[in-house]
């Protein structure tokens, strides 16, 4: 890897624009996330948080602007012309830097926990079954599910399913992990076990984490930096004790106030 590639931020949005029909979700959006940083994104529903993560996971495209991941250009569009090199192989290579965990877990229901975690390495990286399953087992132990290897998603609680989903994403050893409201679908008593796993992941200094959440406990536990997003704009950002405890922007204050009342 070249020096510029390792110096490059883990994630860079430059003047990124994204619309759904007439709804402009991102408007000339800029954001740099250094490698290893744990960034928490907060903001009202519909402000574009999921879209941001989905663009990085290649689940959505943008209309114009540039997105870079680990120094590689995912997309670079101007006047409708794509300037980044195309090709399936390249897309899959860039995707390999990123992993994502979803609000609704999205586990494969016809596979056991072990198979869910092993399937990425086996099918994407063409590892042998024995090797992939040994690693999957180690990962499941790490998230506290060493006794659930053979269980199927529908036999697991929400918290357990989400921990399997985290292990599944980590099995591909991504440099950037995206978490989209991963504790929002959980009963309150199950949030702790998932948050504990995320905290443990956060101790990996080289892992870049982008975490979208509505739960301030989650934000405080993980964030190096908190970004407050509203209508696709970065309204305020900074260390959690600043943004969450002494927000400067009135919009941030309003949002946090409304959250506390809820």
């Amino acid at each position: 890897m070249s020096a510029t590639a390792t110096d490059a931020p883990a994630v860079r949005f430059a003047a990124a624009c994204k619309s759904f029909g007439d709804t402009r979700v991102l408007d000339r959006f800029d954001l740099d996330i250094p490698r290893g940083e744990k960034t928490v994104i907060i903001g009202p529903s519909g402000s574009g948080k999921s879209t941001l993560l989905r663009i990085l996971m290649t689940l959505e495209g943008i209309e114009s602007g540039r997105v870079e991941i680990c120094g590689e250009t995912l997309t670079d569009r101007f006047d409708g012309v794509e300037r980044a090199p195309r090709g399936r192989g390249r897309l899959r290579k860039i995707r390999g830097h990123v992993g994502m965990v979803f609000q609704q877990f999205n586990l494969f229901p016809h596979m056991s926990a072990l198979e869910n975690v092993a399937c990425g390495p086996r099918l994407s990286l063409r590892r042998s079954r024995v090797e992939a399953e040994a690693e999957a087992e180690a990962l499941l132990r790490r998230v506290g599910l060493g006794d659930k290897l053979g269980s199927y998603p529908l036999q697991l609680s929400g918290g357990q399913q989400q921990r399997v989903a985290i292990a599944r994403a980590m099995a591909l050893r991504p440099e950037v992990m995206l978490f989209d409201e991963v504790t929002s679908a959980l009963d309150p008593e199950l949030i702790g076990e998932v948050l504990a796993v995320m905290r443990e992941l956060a101790s990996e200094t080289s892992l870049t984490m982008l975490v979208v959440t509505h739960q301030m406990g989650v934000a405080r536990a993980l964030a190096d930096r908190v970004c407050f997003l509203e209508n696709g704009r970065l309204v305020e950002q900074g260390p959690p004790e600043q943004v969450l405890d002494a927000p400067e922007n009135p919009r941030t204050r309003e949002f946090l106030h409304a959250l506390n009342l809820a």
Binding site: M57, L59, C119, Y152
Partner: protein, 221 residues
């Protein structure tokens, strides 16, 4: 009108030999229908608009023309074009084409039942397109498809007497032969009806067993 058990028993072996042909035609026709259905489904999904549009019309055509017309065409008209088929071949091809369109509908419903989020999970895991299809999409689409395929099998079984008209020696053909030789029809037809009933019930039980085997672990029935 009387029913003679002795006569029914006497003709049973003959009818059962016809039943073997019925089952063979159903099985081969069913496999063909699955192949035709898979082909149609593949041509209809993710293909250029022209291809999927033409495929839709082909399906509409296959669905809305009677099985009998297809069988007649294949058996009686194709020889004019230099293609002669045995009754069994013409019969199973007619069955396969006729029901292939239905098979495709069933498959499409199965594929549509797999939520988009599964595809997104596969993308997030960087799975190659082929692995997504064979390891994630199709195994999940197969479950809701099974009852539909079971019903398709049973309705194909009940369509086989149509092939009597292109002189395939299936069960109905044998029954008519017995009737016209011995001037007794009721035993033959009643026994044929009972054999069909038994086959249908067996088919339904088979589907039930398969379904139970394929139920997702942990799901509530």
């Amino acid at each position: 009108m009387e029913f003679s058990f002795a006569f029914a028993l006497e003709i049973l072996p003959k009818l059962l030999r016809g039943a073997v042909v019925t089952i063979e035609a159903t099985l081969v026709g069913f496999l063909l229908a699955i192949l035709v259905g898979a082909g149609l489904t593949a041509l209809r999904r993710g293909t250029p608009r022209l291809v999927s549009g033409v495929t839709r019309w082909v399906m509409e055509f296959l669905r809305s023309t009677p099985l009998l017309v297809k069988a007649y065409f294949l058996y009686f008209a194709l020889p004019d074009f230099g293609l002669t088929m045995a009754p069994f071949v013409a019969g199973v091809v007619a069955l396969g084409l006729h029901h292939g369109a239905f098979a495709s509908e069933i498959m499409r419903a199965g594929l549509d039942s797999v939520p988009r989020s599964q595809r997104e999970a596969a993308i997030a895991l960087n799975l190659p397109e082929g692995a997504w299809r064979t390891r994630i999409l199709i195994p999940q689409a197969a479950r809701p498809v099974l009852p539909g395929f079971g019903n398709l099998f049973i309705s194909m079984l009940k369509d086989t007497p149509v092939l009597y008209s292109i002189s395939l020696a299936e069960m109905m053909f044998v029954a008519n032969e017995i009737g016209s030789l011995q001037f007794r029809y009721n035993e033959a037809y009643i026994v044929v009806a009972l054999i069909y009933l038994v086959f249908s019930l067996l088919g339904a039980v088979g589907v039930r067993l398969l379904e139970r085997r394929m139920t997702l672990p942990g799901s509530r029935p």
